[in-house]
């Protein structure tokens, strides 16, 4: 029984924390500059090996595992780091690594080296990851519209689309986003840091990822993986919100004492802590299940997703409440965490979707 990260993984975490400190300030700088991400920070992340972590050594990566990705996700989430780590290194790279075939050999070295950024573009109008796409591929050319796409300044995207060879199912494809047939229209997202766009493809040349007609299966597995990594992002965000609220409660005075001396404040912080610690257990279980490819993965992913979403949303909402008026200003970092908590709650499938998956898994036992 070992329900902790290893010493090496904890050392990676410390490196990350040093690198990513001042995350919220960096976010504001990126927003002020109207930039897609913090390019200097991205360079440092690449140098630290974050983009190469789970890529095999043969493909230019470090050959580390899921646990390291979880540590990265938690620290990126804690710092709100304004770099496309989640979209590229955690989600898209993992699909390419597992199912990329020939595209993997081409793209993994570039992704590992940080020369290219990847993202995923699976949802369309309804916002559901599970819906059959309307986008189509004919003769290797993709047409259709994807929204919302995170980090749309990426070089390539994993896109879902139907083609004749997919029969009644659909497939996944690797699409270049800098091709002249692609139009990216920026949209304002609830999270103002991570950029989003509507991406329109008009006969864009694409390469297939995975087998014909198995898009739904691939997405299913990908969502389990994405749910766990997102849960770690949420866990990190929740911890940051709790600490921010705790520190403010110690410093802010009202009625002649620190507001943290009030039981209403103390008990709310204790409840935030309790939800976070419950979520942490589910996250660790998910990390283990993903790492060893356990049959318990569907249950573990759903549990992590639900627990971490609860923890982050609660922590972000109540951190503002504990800050009072100042927490409701745009200038307060509280606003960044609330908006991020909403983004992550709504991405990677709804509470209803994961509830359904979880109970199916529980009943199957």
């Amino acid at each position: 029984m070992n329900f902790q990260f290893s010493n090496e993984q904890e050392a990676l975490r410390e490196q990350l924390q040093r690198l990513l400190k001042d995350g919220p300030a960096r976010c504001r700088a990126v927003m002020a500059a109207g930039d897609s991400h913090d390019r200097a920070l991205w360079k440092s992340c690449v140098e630290l090996g974050l983009t190469a972590a789970a890529i095999p050594e043969a493909d230019g990566g470090l050959g580390l595992g899921v646990m390291e990705l979880c540590v990265i996700a938690e620290e990126v989430g804690r710092a709100l780091a304004p770099v496309p780590i989640a979209s590229s290194a955690l989600y898209a790279t993992e699909i390419i690594r597992r199912h990329g075939g020939e595209a993997a050999a081409l793209w993994l070295p570039r992704l590992a080296a940080g020369e290219a950024i990847a993202t995923v573009a699976l949802t369309e109008g309804t916002g559901s990851w599970d819906a059959v796409p309307s986008a189509v591929v004919v003769d290797g050319k993709l047409s259709g519209s994807k929204l919302p796409v995170s980090d749309p300044h990426a070089d390539v995207a994993i896109v879902s689309a139907r083609s004749e060879e997919d029969g009644r199912g659909y497939g996944l494809w690797l699409a270049p986003l800098d091709h002249r047939s692609v139009v990216r229209r920026s949209v304002v997202a609830v999270d103002r840091i991570r950029r989003h766009a509507v991406v329109e493809f008009a006969a864009t040349p694409v390469v297939r990822i995975g087998k014909q007609g198995e898009g739904a299966n691939l997405v299913d597995g990908m969502m389990d993986s994405a749910a766990i990594l997102t849960a770690f992002e949420q866990l990190g965000g929740a911890e940051a919100a709790l600490l921010m609220a705790r520190d403010y409660a110690l410093q802010r005075k009202a009625f002649g004492k620190p507001i943290g001396a009030n039981q209403a404040v103390k008990h709310k912080l204790a409840d935030m802590y309790a939800r976070i610690e419950l979520a942490r257990g589910h996250c660790y279980y998910g990390a283990w299940a993903l790492d060893v490819g356990s049959a318990e993965l569907p249950r573990a992913a759903a549990g992590a997703r639900l627990a971490a979403t609860d923890a982050f949303v609660f922590a972000a909402e109540e951190a503002i409440q504990l800050h009072g008026g100042i927490g409701f200003t745009w200038e307060s970092d509280c606003s960044l965490y609330l908006r991020r908590s909403r983004l992550l709650a709504q991405m990677v499938g709804s509470r209803r979707r994961w509830t359904s998956r979880l109970v199916n898994a529980l009943v199957a036992v």
Partner: protein, 403 residues
């Protein structure tokens, strides 16, 4: 029990409704008029003027002050009928609801006469300069200093969360005049011309993204002693009068996502199996829970209205209204946004259901704080309604400048 108006109430409502039907539509804010914009201020002023001319401004104020001498219930009936239209009627809420009653209670007869008319006719806007960065829930902790200089006071400090400061002609301002006594005992209230030298207004951007509130910086602002409201160092008592008037406002809150929006949304979304989301038992369960709170708040308002109709002030049940409302809205909007999955992460700028939900969600944290946080309201209910002991307050008898 009876949900219908009494005969007199019904008569007044009929009269009001007919007048509104004839005049209100011309003053409705179209989609091009953003709240808080200059155009919106012009429209607000025009609408107030029309109301004043027709005898629907200051309905509950005494006739000798230019009001209509109507009952509190007349005021509520007008408000209810007015809410059927998208007319802009919040610009004067702070002035008519809080500032002018304070002026009337404490200023000289001449000053009162000077201000009441323009306020009623929408010619002058008022704001309230109470909150400060270090004085939120603990309002008596304000630091804005007023130092006597002959017949004047010199005021320095910073106020926050001031609605409409950028459009205001006048303000009431709470200041600290004596720092060497416990904090409630050293405050004094004034009225202030917002065009006085040294007054600077800067907008505050909220996390919802808008700029409805302001900071107001006061730098060597000179206020004549004749503008003092109440005795020197008796400002806390004056402020309590102002705030008591705030609590009497029992209108329906501005438009936010409610049960109707959630039902409409749940009708419009299909489940995996092709049915309406509205038929899913979990969605129905949430709808029922929000309905219990939401309709429960309507019933609280009806009880307050019953009290007014009998000439009594609303009972203590009014204190739980905002407490329940703010959190219910936050949870309801979050629930609805979750149903929309990643389709709801794009911010919609028009008046769609999605935009209403997003506005509701991102405004809810402010609503849970403004005018008394959830925690302060629970304390008020516990202490004033249930008779429980006050919190321990180590600052109570300590001079402000020794805290």
């Amino acid at each position: 029990m009876d949900f219908n108006d009494s005969p007199e109430e019904a008569r007044y409502r009929t009269k009001v409704a007919a007048w509104l039907a004839a005049h209100a539509p011309r003053f409705e804010a179209g989609p091009d008029i953003k709240p808080n914009s200059a155009a919106w201020v012009r429209l607000s002023k025009a609408w107030q003027k029309v109301k004043a001319e027709a005898g629907y401004a200051g309905i509950t104020w005494p006739r000798e002050l230019g009001g209509q001498g109507g009952s509190m219930l007349d005021g509520v009936i007008f408000q209810q009928e007015e809410q059927r239209y998208r007319v802009p009627n919040v610009l004067f809420q702070v002035g008519m609801g809080m500032c002018l009653p304070t002026v009337i209670a404490y200023a000289s007869r001449e000053q009162t006469q000077r201000f009441v008319g323009p306020a009623l006719r929408g010619e002058e806007v008022w704001c309230q300069l109470f909150s400060e960065p270090a004085a939120g829930s603990d309002l008596a902790g304000i630091r804005t200093r007023a130092v006597r200089d002959g017949d004047e006071w010199i005021v320095n400090g910073q106020k926050v969360w001031t609605s409409y400061a950028q459009y205001s002609d006048f303000a009431i301002v709470l200041t600290r005049t004596e720092p060497s006594v416990p904090k409630h005992a050293g405050l004094t209230m004034f009225w202030l011309d917002m065009r006085s030298p040294g007054v600077e207004v800067r907008p505050i951007r909220t996390l919802a993204g808008d700029e409805d509130f302001n900071e107001v910086f006061l730098s060597d602002v000179r206020i004549p002693d004749s503008q003092r409201l109440g005795a020197v160092n008796a400002g806390w008592k004056v402020a309590l009068t102002t705030l008591m008037h705030e609590r009497l406002a029992i209108g329906k809150p501005p438009e936010h996502a409610g049960i109707e929006q959630i039902i409409a949304l749940a009708k419009s979304i299909r489940t995996e199996s092709g049915g309406m989301l509205l038929d899913a038992a979990d969605v129905r369960d949430s709808i029922a829970r929000y309905y219990v709170n939401d309709a429960g708040l309507d019933f609280l308002r009806m009880r307050a209205q019953t009290a007014l109709s009998k000439g009594l002030p609303p009972g203590p049940e009014a204190s739980i209204g905002k407490l329940v409302m703010a959190k219910t809205r936050q949870d309801l909007a979050a629930f609805a946004l979750d149903l929309l999955e990643s389709g709801a992460i794009i911010e919609d700028d028009d008046r769609s259901v999605l935009s209403t939900l997003q506005q509701t969600y991102f405004w809810a944290p402010g609503l849970r704080i403004a005018g008394g946080t959830d925690e302060i309201l629970r304390n008020i209910v516990a202490e004033r309604v249930l008779g429980l002991p006050a919190d321990y307050r180590p600052d109570k008898d300590v001079p402000f400048n020794q805290q």
